[in-house]
Point group: C2
Chain length 351, copies 2
Amino acid sequence: MKLLSVAMNRTVFMRGLLALAATFGLLFLSASAFALTDPLPSWNDGATKQAIVEFVKTTTDQSSPSFVPPEERIATFDQDGTLWVEHPMYSQVVYCLDRVPALVKAKPELADTEPFKTVLTGDLEAIAKLPKDELVKVLAATLTGMSVDQFQAEVKSWLKRAKDSRWKRPYTELTYLPMIELLKYLRENGYRTYITTGGGQDFVRVYAEAVYGIPPEQVVGTAGVTTYGYDKEGKPFLLKEPKLLLNDNNAGKPEGIHFMIGRRPYASFGNSTGDRQMLEYAKAGEGQRLAVLVLHDDDKREYAYGPAQGFPDTKVGTFTQELYDEAKKSGWIIISMKDDWKHIFAFETAP
Amino acid sequence: MKLLSVAMNRTVFMRGLLALAATFGLLFLSASAFALTDPLPSWNDGATKQAIVEFVKTTTDQSSPSFVPPEERIATFDQDGTLWVEHPMYSQVVYCLDRVPALVKAKPELADTEPFKTVLTGDLEAIAKLPKDELVKVLAATLTGMSVDQFQAEVKSWLKRAKDSRWKRPYTELTYLPMIELLKYLRENGYRTYITTGGGQDFVRVYAEAVYGIPPEQVVGTAGVTTYGYDKEGKPFLLKEPKLLLNDNNAGKPEGIHFMIGRRPYASFGNSTGDRQMLEYAKAGEGQRLAVLVLHDDDKREYAYGPAQGFPDTKVGTFTQELYDEAKKSGWIIISMKDDWKHIFAFETAP
């Protein structure tokens, strides 16, 4: 009886040991699997990918002279043309144009007033020819004059139903898969990822958390003044005013970064002249810094526009030859969408 | 031999079990110890402390109907008079006055110009009588016209040597110990703590991380425009301009919170009429919200000023009877420094 009990105990013990060994084995296997897993599977192997991975390794390795403490790991990303498609027109401008019929319904006197009259015709060529200050009237009328909550509810509803003209998909599916991987990869390495967009801060905040994993407080964008007031029931609300507070383009990007974050980014990503100062500012900091530009050079899978390297010039997302030269001279990295990205969109990889 | 081996294995097994049990015991003990440790030891037991602890428990307990997901746990704190002493004068104003001699040395023509002439005399009564727009000239001259980096280096150096007139201690030691405990307690419960100060954002960011554990990106404060430019070597810098971007007082507090955070705080702390709208805004949100005012009613250990409840009126940190009544009516909590706080400063408790 006693021997049996000892034997049984021994069996239990051995079983326990085996289970333990198996667990360790699994841990070991999954650790190796993790090390072997490519965090950027949609990127082709090459100098661009290597430079990004090297930057992350060197700034997060405690034994590296370029080690950056976690609290200082800030990476900033332009949105339009850097994280998602900006052609043929910025999604937010499409939103504003789409809102005009509802606006005219609420204020019928606008139907015969320019620029709303032209927008109502739906004639895209005529709309494209509207002078800039007329377009600003459309933006002001559709982005201001309501509470922040009302505006964000409208945007949310529009994002659910609106589809882009080329892929016939919601705009939120037109994000670049390699950049989504990069955002995650940076966060897994202790970087806080910020959006620094010329687009509207209140607009981007509606979907940034779901689409990019970036919370509202990490969205820096062009913003208007809001005014605190009370509704009929005495409940406070914030009214969106047609007055600019931060123009988050060009020099406004580093200015906005200082205002909202108060730290200089270690890595910064853009795709146009509007991002130039942000990249200069990031790169001018001490230690290892990463400045990256996305070059739209894939007219088959996305668009090719420039005019750097002889691509056609456009008003949306201008990458000039001057910017290209500064990038080359200053050690910035240029992503060729054509050569560096295996896939551009997640839906390409869907079964 | 075999029996011996079995017996030894059994001993090893039992030893392992005992070790395991001991570990569990320790875990259990430390869990109990943690539960028994008061996270707010400098607070007297009573309704105020209880209300704060109840709020934290109910918003962080997954089974509670008032549970708040971690990403939405935002708590905002005014600084002057809420986190540290603001009397007889805001520390930042003392900084500005202290900077005048160096300013005049650099620009000797100011020595005979008001208000600098009066400030140079060091006659505090005469300085206190300067009209507001003259004082603004001193602030503009000492807070702007230099790069952000230069300004922050000056503040850092000043904080090391400056001492307040009553306690003869660095200003950064004049923080309220119960509030420092509260900041930590909230963070330990997944809240992100923000400063929302009428004081200067660039000023507070210099010490907020070391003093409060609050990083630069979580400091919302009054801020001027900065302008991006290049120095002689072509290195980019941000110049502090004498132009207001955000006046983070009164309605400016919820406006600034929306701009910088984009979420409505679940808990908000202030001490004066300048915090009223921030507390209203927080409290107007859905679910459980906490709005708290610090009442300076301890003329022995700190200061007593009001004019709520008959305390003397002052220009620095006004807590009006009207604010007191709104607080009572709206279910805000009022901290009596005299009754609710066991200790006010950490240096009181030092051996």
